[in-house]
Symmetry: C2
Subunit: 306 residues, 2 copies
């Protein structure tokens, strides 16, 4: 019985690559799996797919019209998944995030580890099952690790990510440091994007203390270039919040060279943001030195403050 | 930093053995882990601990007074866990049940597989980490698989449980078929138990459709012997439901030799039970031929009917 494999909405490189990698592994193990995506690839992912001459996965928004069962990678929370994920059976999850808003009626395969990247978890499964990683897939999985760990500089980076990246780069015959910088920069071409695109591209929703909290992350090599567009960004965030019902919207702009972030906050309760990071907002903005990871340095702190 | 490792409330053999096995594995891998239990061992588990001359784990009801972090085995749902599990960080879960009522603030290690027994999942981790299983632990893990799969006869049994049981029995130098029957019979000595004990010993709570549903399973070699006590069992279930706030209480009495079960149902909504099993209740009772697994043949069907 065919199953679809996909990462979260607003896919980043890991969401798309992990789906491709897990579908490949499952097919090698005898399943009938197709990797799809819940959105079009971003600039960085396009660079990766071009570089390794790999096809873009088919984009879907619903899955129950095609299959009865699915495998989730790089997410588990229902609001980050396919719109109708509740109408299908989730048979597998491979992830590296917290577990929340996830419930099944029956036992399933669930493999999550607190590592920097889903593709690192999947690489471990290739090894456990003695399945070889083809060179181009290894290159894409290396790219996903570079993307999620900002070239091993994010505090989410673990020893296992370092080992996996080095081994995958070797299989792909890739100079991962030179390639990685080129890839990350390809993802920070922000000037061609509208404000609406910037606040949507890598955004995720979370339920916290009864509120819907939206957190978007934008990577850049120049914070000031992004904040020159602050008024328009703020207007776009307010518009989207009222249209989509977000109570609180955090835009996290991350300088990937300096490893710092600046927040822009719209909505309420703003005092929870100040409590979470023990810092005062100034014109709804806050500098967070050393903060680059939404998953490790933003979401748990907000969760605790709520 | 020390962590406690434990299975669900009203522990069965797998809940206690899996905690011991996982604590042993984690300590071999460098953690500081102690196996504890959320209740005293039942008759079957006492037989197992005696047979392999293993100490009974310390019984606790709360954990935050001792540690900041815990590892869960053989369960994940909050109502089946330590009373104050929300006050500690769950760093690891190893399980073989559905995922529900479980939420974390941060990423964690979570390894669940749809296999017959948690100890089978843990045995796979011993292998993945190249850690040897000591003989007495192997005997206990074999016992847990025999217990959960009713000597490989339950429909929850998978190929991996069969392989694990055979390998563990070999390590323990155990004739698992002869030993298994002896062990299962030791667990069905019901005459010495009060009705209160019978409806509590292996009971689990589930949240379904806004209702608290209690499902207890009692293994026997003679259904009629148990139902000779029907009036007293019913009275005990009604009393406990009103004291503990259970909306619906199912007592599932399983003949482990014939692989059949008979349900006794107290509370409401009873029509959901009839819908779940497509069968009419007669005096609040229902025979379910071939049904031996709460997890696979009762809970998902109830969940779907709700």
């Amino acid at each position: 019985m065919k199953e679809l494999v996909f990462g979260h909405k607003n896919p980043d490189t890991d969401a798309i690559v992990a789906a491709k990698a897990y579908a490949y592994l499952q097919n090698q193990l005898g399943a009938d799996a197709e990797a799809v995506a819940l959105g079009a690839p971003n600039e960085e992912t396009k660079f990766v797919l071009d570089y390794f001459k790999e096809p873009t996965p088919r984009v879907v928004t619903t899955v129950s019209n095609e299959v009865e069962a699915v495998m989730l990678v790089d997410h588990n929370e229902v609001q980050q998944s396919a719109d109708d994920v509740k109408d299908v059976t989730v048979t597998h999850v491979v992830d590296h995030h917290r577990i929340a808003n996830f419930e099944t009626a029956a036992p399933l395969y669930y493999h999550a580890e607190p590592l920097g990247c889903s593709s690192t978890v999947i690489y471990k499964e290739f090894k456990q099952n003695d399945v070889e990683v083809p060179a181009s897939l290894a290159g894409m999985m290396a790219s996903a690790i570079i993307s999620d760990t900002l070239l091993l500089k994010s505090p989410t980076t673990t020893k296992e990510d370092v080992v996996a990246l080095k081994e995958l780069a070797k299989i792909a015959d890739l100079d991962y440091e030179a390639y990685g910088l080129e890839m990350l920069k390809a993802g920070t071409n922000l000037s061609s994007k509208t404000e609406e695109e910037l606040i949507t591209a890598d955004a995720k929703s979370f339920e916290m203390g009864g509120k819907t909290v939206r957190v978007d992350q934008v990577n850049t090599v120049d914070l000031d270039e992004v904040f020159a567009r602050e008024d328009k960004l703020r207007a776009a965030m307010e518009k989207q919040s009222s249209e989509e019902g977000f109570d609180l919207f955090l835009l996290m702009v991350t300088d990937i060279l300096e490893s710092n972030s600046r927040l822009l906050v719209v909505g309420e309760p703003k005092d929870v943001v100040e409590k979470a990071f023990e810092k005062t907002l100034s014109n709804d903005k806050m500098d967070l030195p050393g903060v680059v990871s939404r998953k490790k340095q933003i979401v748990p702190q907000l969760e605790a403050a709520f």
